[in-house]
């Protein structure tokens, strides 16, 4: 399992952030083409001296292209939206440091810690009314060390998709119920949850939290404390035990990866799927009769909390057009119109409450995700999170494969602590 497909969110930080250094894959944040619509054959040449340059990954760049251009025209400015083919975050940091970066960056909120420690972004000052118009999780996510670093516009989290033909419990109340119903329905696989050979702490987080696991403790001011690592503590061990149980039952498998998880569901081979809004298009295309509900927790244990990943606009610290960049951010903050135009090309659950209401009729599932995200846990944005992904993932994958939960989790905890200490 190489490419993690919930790109935007997080996993990026997990792996090598080297400037191009090989990690090539993992983060998948981006991609090839940004030429907005299918209509134009060749890309319009990017003006060399655009008044505002924005970097984003493939899908977001494509969605932003037209709205940004229209906004630019209304202000008498030329706007260039560029797609960065690989490693958007580290490419941005490197380019910005060298003075060749864009003015604005569109990226996930969990990059903030790293962006800040590199002095790569400037804080944004959002008007008070704009803050009120946003879902709390969105603001929460872009707040780091008491400062607001980005203008959030979309939020994602994972949820439970049920194939109504393969189960009679489309929204199970507990994992146990889910497993039972999934098996009873006769599907090849009761649940499609990407684990992969190296584990996937992002997809496993609901299970991990339901059984009492946490990643970082909180400091007095509400920020995360990198010195209090939850992996290896009791909660994580009980989570490991639960995962092992599910592994034994054949519910969790390392052969289900981000490459095949969604298609197992769309091919009708899995009764349930745990995935995010990015799966909606495929599922609808496959004409699966599905129901969307929050991911249940284990019976008698805590609520399952998936990660929330927020997409936001950041102002580059060394952009050549900081004034226009701030002007753009304020335009996004002032009205949801621009985000709504982006939604037309890239359906991401919006954080703007007004927009949520507006879209609820036509796009009920997308808005549901936004609502689920309210109860989700914003992905940790402290840079130390980078040390967590790999060891925790490996421990989880090994536990599912039969390794001892206690020693595996404790080992992962130690590896994380050591790595944070440098």
């Amino acid at each position: 399992m190489l490419i993690r497909r919930h790109t935007f969110l997080a996993m990026g930080a997990a792996t090598l952030a080297a400037c191009g250094g090989g990690s090539t894959e993992k983060k998948g944040a981006d991609s090839g083409a940004s030429d907005a619509g299918g209509a134009e054959g060749a890309a319009p040449a990017v003006p060399k001296n655009a008044d505002l340059v924005i970097w984003a990954d493939e899908k977001k760049a494509a969605a932003l292209q037209e709205p940004a251009k229209a906004w630019g025209e209304s202000q008498g400015l030329t706007v260039a939206v560029q797609t960065v083919a690989d490693e958007l975050q580290s490419s941005f940091i490197t380019a910005n440091q060298a003075g060749n970066g864009p003015d604005l960056l569109l990226g996930a909120h969990d990059w903030i810690g790293n962006l800040v420690q590199n002095g790569a972004v400037s804080p944004v000052q959002l008007p008070a009314e704009a803050k009120k118009a946003l879902a709390p999780v969105g603001l929460d996510a872009v707040t780091y060390d008491g400062q607001t670093y980005g203008m959030p516009y979309a939020v994602e989290c994972i949820a439970l998709f049920a194939n109504k033909k393969l189960t009679d419990k489309p929204s199970p109340a507990t994992i146990e119920e889910l497993v039972e119903a999934g098996k009873a329905g006769g599907a090849e696989t009761p649940l499609s949850l990407p684990v992969g050979e190296e584990g996937d702490p992002y997809a496993m987080h609901p299970l991990y939290t339901s059984a009492g696991g946490y990643l970082f403790g909180e400091k007095a001011d509400g920020g995360l404390n990198p010195e209090d690592v939850g992996v290896g503590k009791d909660g994580s061990v009980s989570a490991g035990e639960k995962m092992q149980q599910l592994g034994k039952e054949g519910v969790l498998k390392t052969s289900i990866t981000n490459d095949n998880a969604i298609s197992l569901f769309t091919d009708g081979k899995a009764a349930y799927l745990i995935s995010g809004p990015w799966a909606l298009a495929d599922i609808k295309k496959a004409k699966i009769d599905f129901e969307l509900s929050p991911i249940p927790g284990f019976e008698g244990l805590e609520e399952a909390r998936p990660f929330a990943g927020v997409n936001a606009f950041y102002v580059a610290s060394k952009g050549k057009n900081a004034a226009f960049a701030n002007q753009f951010v304020n335009a996004v903050a002032a009205s949801p119109d621009l985000v709504e135009q982006m939604f037309a090309k890239n359906e991401l659950p919006p954080v703007n409450l007004e927009l949520q209401k507006k879209l609820a009729d036509k796009h009920p599932e997308v808005v549901k995700f936004a609502q689920f995200a309210e109860k989700a846990e914003p992905m940790p944005s402290i840079p130390q999170m980078a040390a967590v992904w790999k060891p925790l993932g490996i421990a989880e994958a090994n536990i599912i494969g039969g390794a001892d939960p206690k020693s595996s989790m404790e080992g992962a905890g130690k590896a994380i602590t050591d790595s944070i200490a440098g």
Binding site: L2, T15, L16, A17, A18, C19, G21, G22, S23, T24, E25, D51, S90, I93, Q97, V116, Q117, N118, G119, S122, P123, Q125, P127, A128, D145, G146, Q147, E197, K253, T254, S255, I256, T257, N260, S317, N321, A322, A323, F324, A325, N326, Q327, V329, P383, Q384, A386, A387, K390, I394, N398, G401, A403, S408, G411, A412, A415, D418, S419, I420, G422
Partner: protein
């Protein structure tokens, strides 16, 4: 073509043409230098200036005289090699003695700017202003702000020196909530404001002891406080709200601002020399030390295995298909080239899907249930198999080409001596082939020794044994160590550079050793 004697008159004409070409070439080099050198001095691009001067000097030294014949041939390629390969390597060696990485990429001043700049908070409930920036002289400032309160419509003015005060009514004209003219001032256009945003950002129009009005964007200002201030004389950062003082101290081998307890206060640090710290970290890190030898062993097996298998298959196919009588020989050759025509990353990603235990193509086609990626041994096999698939066409092409250059009379002679076809192949053709190909095998070995992509894209170094997070079953040295360098709180280029240098030294020694072997072969020839 093979006429060995060049007629005298042709020689002369060539020389005349050559002379003209030479003069034109040297002339354009000189012209380029004249244009480029002042430019580079102006930009303070010393590295490129050095390159330019040395290159011009070298070109004139080499190509104006009749001496240095080898130099004339080697120089063009060497130029690119030195500039784009060797220089980056030297710079990388330089990085290995620094803390270059996430959190310490810039200068100390940049870190300070970032720390203090990030402490600007807008005052809750304070109004925003439309902003017009005026100047009395040049567009570079000093600047005066003309502000209109967006909620009340009152107009104010102020500058870095002059606190915020209401503006006299007849001194400015206001239209649609914005100052459009001001007596005695030139007003900046939005583009000019944008171009000078950095300088204008330094203007804080004092409102009271703690708050000031600052620029927000090309036409807006806000009221905010900058809690952290840098005191240059004392080299410390002061929190103006709490009075807390942060001084420069040493944390974890690098300098950073620390609080009174000596704990790191901000994540931003700056680029600085750390001596041999990165190297000592590599050799004292317990988990690295323990796994280094194991990873090294597999690296050797992987690199050698990849070379041997690809070469063996490539050679075998080249020999087998090197026969006039085979029908469709061209077709075979073209199809065998296919794997090579697929960009490597595509091939690797597709193969990684093939190995899925439950849903992969290989297990489905063969009916096996091998845990390819979950079992360390099978994962190693998987890697070698994929690398074989990707690499054999290369060896096949090279061997096919090399076979052509073996004079046919050699084979003929062997045959006349009564050697069988197999004997000819093994005893005569293969050794001859090795002469031209051996260096390539060494290079291929070296390439695979650091073939990060093959490992990373296929298995990510996994599978990882229980409770072992440093080295996975298929990790080669470079993939293992890169994970360590980039797996902590962000990328650590300094450490990664140190590791690269050490790996480079190891590969170099190995190659030098192998080189002796190729020397032996060359001497045989």
């Amino acid at each position: 073509m093979t006429d060995t004697s060049a007629p005298a008159h042709r020689q002369r004409t060539t020389s005349t043409t050559a002379l003209v070409v030479k003069i034109l070439f040297l002339g354009s080099v000189a012209a380029a230098a004249v244009w480029l050198i002042p430019l580079l001095i102006g930009l303070k691009a010393w590295l490129w200036l050095t390159f330019t001067v040395l290159t011009v000097a070298a070109i004139f030294a080499l190509y104006t005289t009749k001496r240095f014949i080898p130099g004339k041939y080697i120089f063009p390629g060497t130029f690119f090699l030195v500039v784009f390969l060797i220089t980056p390597i030297i710079l990388t060696v330089g990085y290995s003695f620094t803390n270059y990485g996430d959190g310490s990429r810039g200068t100390k001043q940049e870190a300070i700017n970032s720390i203090t700049g990030n402490s600007v908070q807008q005052v809750d409930g304070a109004s925003r202003y439309t902003l017009t920036v005026g100047t009395k002289g040049a567009v570079e400032g000093p600047y005066t702000f003309f502000l209109v309160d967006q909620s009340t419509g009152e107009a104010f003015t102020g500058s870095a020196e002059q606190p915020l005060e209401p503006v006299e009514e007849d001194a400015v004209s206001i239209s649609s909530g914005r100052v459009t003219e001001a007596d005695g001032f030139t007003l900046l256009k939005p583009r000019e404001v944008n171009d000078h945003f950095r300088e204008i950002s330094d203007v804080a129009v004092t409102v009271d002891d703690t708050t000031a009005v600052r620029i927000l964007d090309a036409g807006t200002a806000f009221q905010g406080t900058k809690v952290l201030q840098y005191d240059e004389a004392k080299d410390q950062i002061v929190n103006t709200a709490t009075g807390e003082v942060f001084t420069v101290g040493e944390v974890g081998g690098e300098q950073a601002f620390v609080d009174a307890d000596g704990k790191r206060a901000f994540s931003q640090s700056w680029l600085q020399g750390v001596g041999f710290d990165n190297y000592s970290r590599l050799f004292t890190n317990g988990s690295v030390g323990a796994q280094f030898l194991k990873a090294f062993a597999w690296t050797l097996v992987f690199a050698a295995g990849s070379v041997i298998t690809t070469f063996a298959l490539g050679l075998a196919l080249a020999l087998a298909l090197n026969d006039e009588r085979i029908r469709g020989r061209r077709l075979y050759r073209s199809f065998l080239l296919l794997p090579y025509a697929v960009p490597a990353f595509i091939a690797l990603l597709i193969w990684s899907n093939f190995y899925n235990q439950d849903y992969g193509l290989i297990n489905q086609l063969t009916g096996l249930h091998i845990n390819w990626l979950g079992d360390p041994t099978w994962a190693k096999v998987a890697i070698l198999l994929t690398n074989l698939w990707m690499g054999f066409p290369y060896m096949f092409i090279v061997c096919t080409g090399a076979l052509q250059s073996i004079p046919s009379d050699v084979k003929e002679a062997a045959r006349i001596d009564g050697a069988s076809s197999l004997q000819t192949t093994v005893k005569v053709i293969t050794p001859l082939l090795l002469v031209s190909i051996a260096p390539l095998l060494v290079a291929s070995f070296a390439f695979n020794f650091n073939n990060f992509n093959a490992i990373e894209l296929l298995t990510g170094g996994g599978p990882f044994p229980d409770n072992e997070f440093t080295r996975g079953g298929t990790d080669i040295l470079i993939s293992m160590v890169y994970r360590i360098a980039f797996g902590g709180s962000g990328a650590d280029f300094g450490f990664a550079s140190a590791v690269s240098v050490v790996l480079f030294a190891i590969t170099g020694l190995l190659a030098a050793f192998q080189f002796r072997f190729t020397k032996f072969l060359e001497d045989v020839n």
